[in-house]
């Protein structure tokens, strides 16, 4: 039965939860499909995550391999294919807890970087799991900066082979998933040398383990890099190469080739590589950042409606912690952000699809904008969602720290997203480079891409709000965000120019402005997010109460951003001190309004209890019973601890009493 404290929250919803879910899914038909996939996966015991919190690294890895293998069978049984509409829901259903994710990256890089012959040779082997692939780029001493990689591949004309080496310890491949224990092959990125000349980084297919007994191939040293904050189920690995020979045909050669005599030939544009990065960054936003935040919000908000603490009114029952303003101020902005980023994901996806169509027509014009937006949003969204998950964790008091709450593992997993696929600070600086360039272009009247035309249009003014209700007009706050973005970008551009004109070298000037540049890039992304949220709300049909609640969330997201960064809005007087007090007042009013729909708003994310895997966040709100039951399953409770008999008893009883 449902805890009455949760049931009562649901009775007063101002909108239809089912309709909101369908709308978030892009249609009721999608909802139905998603639920069918989730149901099929969750009722299969192999995919159970029931004991996950009690398992060791070895057990987690084994379970992930088992699930990955079983998933192939399952997909076959269910008639799902990788191209089918079900595919995107499978990952959600298994909660990422499977091995061989890098195997897919291996296949994608062969398809993107390989010639037709190479694709014909390797892809069938990989798709039938005759080999297991990985993708070895990052080295112990080198990450984001690809040109710095040290692994070498020297072409030997006499044997028609490349000889691969790890010249020193910092050049060891480090971190690639699936490589520590599973992979038989990997794409190794190495500096190519032909006749003593270095041609830069190129990809090579290298076999690392025997296809018969899985032992390491000669010249290969590989293993697992040891425990991490999370991803216990993935065997992130290291790889050292000692005079490993691979045939000439193993260099992926769609874009460049070494001919038998050692002639190096380059063909076609490599710009498509940028497109790959862009697609990966956009694709991770939803699954790796927004979904975990939605889950964390679901857990924390449901628990906050069940947990009672202290009294708000004398003589009454202890209050739900969700009724405390400070608790609302922690959780509700995170909920609004989860919605905001869900919509930004739609926005990016649309932009990406458009860009993809252009690129297929060999038009690369949209690439710089796409690249800048995907970098900036990857950084902004992962950072925001990470801190959001942590806020949810800490909003659950002591119980949040129990692994059984589900929150610690959501947190330790999502934080990795701030680093992988491009460290966030570096990504923001890439976006900033684009913004500065566009700003310069715009100020000399040259055309700029659509997302940055505002840089040319804006004029310095003051905010026109007269009272706190004015701050519930999207025009008012969107303009404020736009103003701040323009101000930060233009002032940084001016500073850069000043420095350069005063004789500072360009790269030094850049480094001296990077703190501001990163801030400007964030402001740009924040502005686009607010604007996109407001536009999304505008397009909703006013029926079913959805538009109204989404409008509240949009207002909350926008005002929370101003409330938490008052300085940048006050700095040049765009918003006055008195107006800032109106922002605060409106913002705090919204908390109380959204509070009423908080539980239905997380219910609409439609996570099953199994996918939340949380003793605090289940739909029925039977928090304490579940916590007690789950704790008893802990291996630490299965026997009397050996430590007592082994250490405590003999040592203390006998020896201490003599002291």
């Amino acid at each position: 039965s449902v805890n009455p404290d949760l049931a009562s929250e649901r009775q007063t919803a101002s909108f239809s939860v089912e309709k909101l879910t369908a709308w978030l899914d892009n249609g009721a038909e999608q909802t139905r499909l998603r639920r069918a996939v989730v149901e099929a996966i969750e009722c299969d015991p192999v995919f159970s995550r029931e004991n996950q919190y009690f398992q060791s690294q070895n057990e987690r890895y084994e379970a992930a391999v088992r699930k990955a293998v079983h998933l192939q069978k399952k997909m076959h049984e269910m008639g799902w294919s990788e191209e089918g509409p079900e595919f995107k829901y499978i990952y959600r259903a298994v909660a990422g807890d499977v091995a061989f994710l890098l195997h897919r990256v291996f296949m994608r890089s062969v398809s993107m970087l390989g010639s037709d012959e190479q694709i014909a040779k390797w892809i069938p082997l990989a798709s039938q799991y005759r080999l297991i692939g990985s993708y070895a780029q990052t080295e112990l001493g080198h990450g984001t900066y690809l040109q710095g990689l040290e692994t070498t591949a020297v072409f030997d004309v006499t044997t028609q082979e490349f000889i691969l080496n790890t010249p020193q310890i910092s050049a060891m491949k480090w971190w690639p998933g699936d490589m520590g224990r599973s992979a038989t092959h990997t794409v190794v990125f190495a500096q190519l040398y032909v006749h003593g000349k270095c041609y830069g980084i190129h990809p090579f297919i290298v076999q690392i383990r025997s296809l018969q007994d899985h032992s390491l191939c000669p010249g290969i040293i590989a293993g697992d890099i040891g425990p991490k904050m999370n991803f216990e189920h993935i065997d992130n690995g290291y790889l050292m190469l000692q005079n490993v020979h691979v045939p000439r045909e193993n260099m992926l050669n769609k874009f460049c080739e070494v001919q038998p005599d050692g002639t190096y030939v380059r063909r076609g544009s490599q710009k498509i590589n940028y497109f790959t990065m862009t697609s990966v960054r956009i694709s991770l936003i939803s699954g790796e950042a927004v979904l975990p935040l939605m889950k964390a919000c679901t857990i924390a908000i449901r628990y906050s409606a069940v947990r009672r603490q202290s009294k708000l009114k004398p003589g009454e029952q202890e209050a739900k912690i969700l009724d405390y303003q400070t608790q609302q101020e922690k959780l509700l902005p995170q909920l609004a952000a989860a919605y905001a980023f869900h919509f930004i994901d739609d926005y990016l996806q649309e932009l990406f699809d458009k860009g993809y169509r252009e690129i297929q027509r060999k038009n690369f014009d949209t690439l710089p904008e796409l690249h800048a937006l995907s970098s900036g949003f990857k950084a902004m969204v992962t950072q925001y969602c990470t801190s959001g998950v942590e806020i949810c964790l800490r909003a659950c008091g002591g119980h949040g720290y129990s692994l059984l709450s589900g929150l610690p593992s959501l947190y330790t997993k999502i934080i990795a997203s701030c680093i992988y696929e491009g460290e966030n600070t570096i990504l923001l600086l890439q976006t900033a480079r684009f913004l500065i360039k566009c700003f310069m272009a715009a100020s000399t009247g040259q055309p700029v891409p659509p997302s940055v035309t505002y840089l040319a249009a804006a004029k310095p003014r003051n905010c026109s709000a007269k009272n706190k209700l004015d701050f519930l007009h999207p025009d008012i706050y969107t303009e404020a965000y736009q103003h701040v973005a323009v101000r930060l970008i233009s002032s940084t551009a001016a500073k850069l120019q000043d420095l350069i004109q005063s004789g500072v070298k360009k790269h030094d000037a850049w480094n001296q402005c990077t703190v501001q540049l990163a801030q400007a890039a964030k402001a740009h992304c924040h502005y686009i997010t607010v604007k996109n949220f407001a536009e999304t709300v505008e397009k909703i049909e006013p029926k079913a109460g959805i538009q109204k609640i989404m409008k509240h969330l949009c207002d909350l997201f926008a005002l929370h951003g101003i409330f938490s960064n008052t300085g940048v809005f006050l700095h040049d007087g765009y918003i006055s001190g008195a107006q800032m007090d109106m922002v605060t007042a409106s913002y705090l009013d919204l908390l109380a309004i959204i509070r009423k729909d908080a539980v239905p708003l997380v219910d609409a994310f439609d996570f099953t209890d199994k996918s939340l895997n949380s003793a605090l966040g289940s739909y029925d709100g039977q928090v304490y019973q579940r916590l007690y039951e789950w704790a008893q399953k802990s291996p630490t409770n299965k026997q009397i601890s050996p430590a007592y008999g082994k250490y405590l008893k003999p040592l203390l009883h006998n020896r201490l009493s003599k002291l």
Binding site: F54, Q57, N58, E62, Q72, T138, G141, G143, T144, Y145, G148, W174, W175, D224, I225, G226, Q309, S310, K311, K313, P314, E318, Q325, T326, Q327, E329, R394, G397, G398, Y401, S402, L403, P408, I415, I419, D508, C513, T514, V515, A518, T566, G567, H571, G573, G577, M580, Y624, L627, Y628, A631, K633, S634, T636, I640, S641, A643, Y647, L652, S657, L659
Partner: protein, 661 residues
């Protein structure tokens, strides 16, 4: 030693030992600390495998083994000074919690302060000799900070002269106490006392929970471990459920309140004394914030001096990542914060020591302010350090995420301090209550003293005709004393705003509680501003005590960075109150960046001065010698997944699949 680190150390402008002495509180104390450190770290009994490779059960087992030895050796060496015991314990457990924490830190002290002489005779020596191992069971599954909400009952039965203990609901199960799950055989249980049909509120009872000798739970007792957590693997946090469990009347701690044989309840004289313990424990958390953040900074800054990445100047070798402005901007303000918190922690400890004599003599006059201040500072420093540790980890890129960096462990060990000993938001609101009370006193013409005395100025200012925004403090951004004034003005403004908003709500709302709740976001901000002011003030005050010019110079740079960075992160408050203009803010931002470049040359020396031994630091990235990569490889080879060359899952899952497809 790694050449980069050697160069960094050679370029420092001050002697690191001198700064270490300041942090320790004198050269003699540094010597003694290192003596104890050597004693522990060279003791083969305290060696073990890297904990990162052990299961939770194994980690618990190692911890209990070391704890048992620790208690023995402390007595063998005659170490009795609390600070020295603290050092010894930190080195044994390398800064981690351990299963006897609650026995040593709560059970024994509670016996000393709340047990009658007879009870001390019965329990103290057995507990001192660890025949009795106790814990302190207060928190329940459904009840934390709000003590009056606890549900466990202790009902007096005059017929047998016993208390009957019960956990009437699931939510009343004791949950979280450390050492309860597996280690303890006794617990001090907090329960609602019922006698003669009346509830007399919360009282403490000594409850045996496991059979001496066999260690099996006693009949009527259900006890166990609450399962895996975010860190704290060494600690057996436990649950305890009692069903009609009887204990003799003499097991209620009766130094203050008493229940007589016939059930007559005798009230305690005063309950303010418990404040003292809370102040003490919260002051420890402030010190802990400083230490944990210092450890994370040491790791991140040393690693940033060793790690090379990308290109700053075309054609030149990859620079140390510490040369990037964005990296400095992440790390140096945290370094300054770590120093600031060290000095704050020392200040609270000294103040507590100074007035604890008065407390014992019954003079509690200074206690309310200190209590309010430590509540806020506990929250302020633990929140800041918590976020700072994560920033340090992120600043280490991918490798920070590996357990070999040591930062994940520092984080999970530290982060619960945002919740335990008073949830931080609740703490901030306690401080706010004191601030509002002080403000109300000032408004009614009384003067207030101590850290809140700046509120006295508010009333005089209000008489002046100018607009609030016009009362500009002339801020000199290179003068710490002037920045203290700026922070003071900000705190005053936010306290005033919160108090006024509260008053406005009170005029509209039905109840005080409702008005308070609707102002609580403002109130928390006011408390934060107050704490921030106190930290800047104490850091600035510390500078005058430093006699060595070179050390004072570098600490002054850090102090300025701390204060200016704080302004640049909270510009809105300073702008809105008219304390600083937009142009001044631009100057502040610029000055912060200049200071980053100035501090850069001393960054490694400044973390060296924290003087963490490599074993205690527990980080491959933060090693003193900087030989990071070789040692990461050595570390990884020991990973449990690498025990066999071919993992068993190959035979179990992979091979059969390949055969089928």
């Amino acid at each position: 030693m790694n050449a980069d680190l050697r160069r960094e150390r050679a370029a420092a402008t001050f002697q690191t030992e001198l700064l270490t002495h300041i942090l320790d509180g004198g050269a003699e104390r540094t010597r003694r600390r290192k003596e104890i450190e050597t004693l522990v770290l060279n003791d083969p009994d305290f060696q073990h495998e890297d904990l990162n490779f052990l299961s939770r059960s194994q980690r618990y087992e190692q911890a209990i083994r070391k704890s048992a030895l620790m208690v023995m050796k402390l007595r063998e060496y005659g170490i009795a000074d609390p600070e020295e015991i603290y050092w010894f314990k930190s080195f044994v457990h390398r800064g981690r919690p351990e299963p006897l924490d609650l026995h040593l830190g709560m059970f024994l002290p509670t016996l000393l302060t709340q047990a009658t002489p007879e009870q001390q005779d019965r329990f103290f020596m057995p507990a001192w000799n660890l025949e009795i191992i106790g814990t302190y069971a207060q928190t329940e599954m459904g009840h934390g900070t709000h003590l009056r909400g606890l549900e466990t009952t202790a009902t007096y039965d005059p017929a047998t002269q016993e208390f009957i203990l019960n956990s009437p609901t699931v939510t009343s199960i004791k949950w979280w106490p450390g050492g309860l799950g597996k280690t303890s055989n006794h617990a001090i249980v907090l329960a609602q006392l019922y006698t003669q049909g009346q509830c007399k509120g919360l009282h403490a009872f000594i409850v045996p929970i496991r059979q001496l000798g066999t260690h099996e739970p006693l009949p009527g007792i259900t006890v166990g471990d609450i399962g895996p957590k975010f860190g704290y693997d060494e600690m057996d946090n436990g649950y305890l459920k009692m069903d009609n469990f009887r204990i003799p009347r003499e097991n209620m701690l009766m130094k203050y309140a008493q229940v007589e044989p016939d059930g007559t309840y005798v009230k305690p004289v005063s309950d303010k004394l418990t404040y003292g313990t809370m102040v003490f424990i919260r002051s420890l958390i402030v010190g802990d914030s400083a230490r944990s953040l210092s450890r994370a900074c040491t790791i991140a800054i040393r690693y940033s001096a060793v790690r090379h990445q990308s290109e700053l100047k075309p054609g030149e070798p990859e620079p140390q990542i510490l040369d990037y402005q964005t990296q400095q901007y992440k790390l140096f303000p945290l370094l300054a914060t770590a120093y600031a918190f060290h000095f704050v922690g020392a200040y609270i400890k000294d103040t507590y020591r100074r007035i604890s004599g008065d407390i014992n003599a019954g003079d509690l006059s200074e206690l309310p302010e200190l209590h309010a201040l430590t509540a806020g500072l506990k929250a302020f420093t633990s929140w800041t350090a918590n976020a700072g540790i994560e920033e340090c980890r992120m600043a280490c890129g991918g490798h920070g995420y590996s357990r070999c960096s040591g930062i994940p462990d520092i984080y999970v060990t530290f982060t619960p301090s945002c919740t335990y000993e008073g949830e931080n938001t609740v703490m901030m609101l306690q401080t706010a209550r004191f601030l509002v009370k002080s403000y109300t006193q000032v408004s009614s013409g009384q003067r207030v003293t101590g850290m809140v005395s700046y509120l006295n100025d508010l009333s005089s200012q209000r008489i002046q005709p100018q607009h609030v925004a016009a009362r500009a403090v002339t801020v000199r951004i290179n003068d710490p004393a002037s920045l203290v004034e700026a922070y003071k003005a900000r705190a005053a403004r936010l306290v005033e705003a919160a108090a006024k908003n509260l008053q406005a709500e009170l005029n509209h709302r039905k109840t005080k509680e409702d008005a308070w709740n609707r102002t609580s976001v403002d109130l928390v901000r006011a408390s934060e501003a107050h704490c921030h002011y106190v930290v800047v003030k104490l850091f600035t005050a510390k500078l005058a005590e430093v006699s060595n010019a070179a050390v004072r110079a570098v600490l002054t740079e850090l102090c300025l960075l701390y204060a200016l960075h704080g302004i640049s992160k909270n510009t809105g408050d300073f702008l809105q109150a008219g304390i600083l203009t937009g142009a001044q803010i631009t100057q502040v931002n610029q000055r912060v960046k200049e200071l980053l470049a100035v501090i850069r040359r001393n960054a490694v020396a400044l973390v060296d001065a924290f003087d963490f031994n490599d074993i205690y630091l527990g980080s491959v990235l933060g090693r003193y010698d900087g030989n990071v990569y070789e040692n990461m490889f050595e570390w990884a080879k020991k990973s449990p997944l690498n025990k066999t060359e071919v993992h068993e899952s190959f035979h179990k899952h992979l091979k059969p699949m390949q055969a089928k497809l």
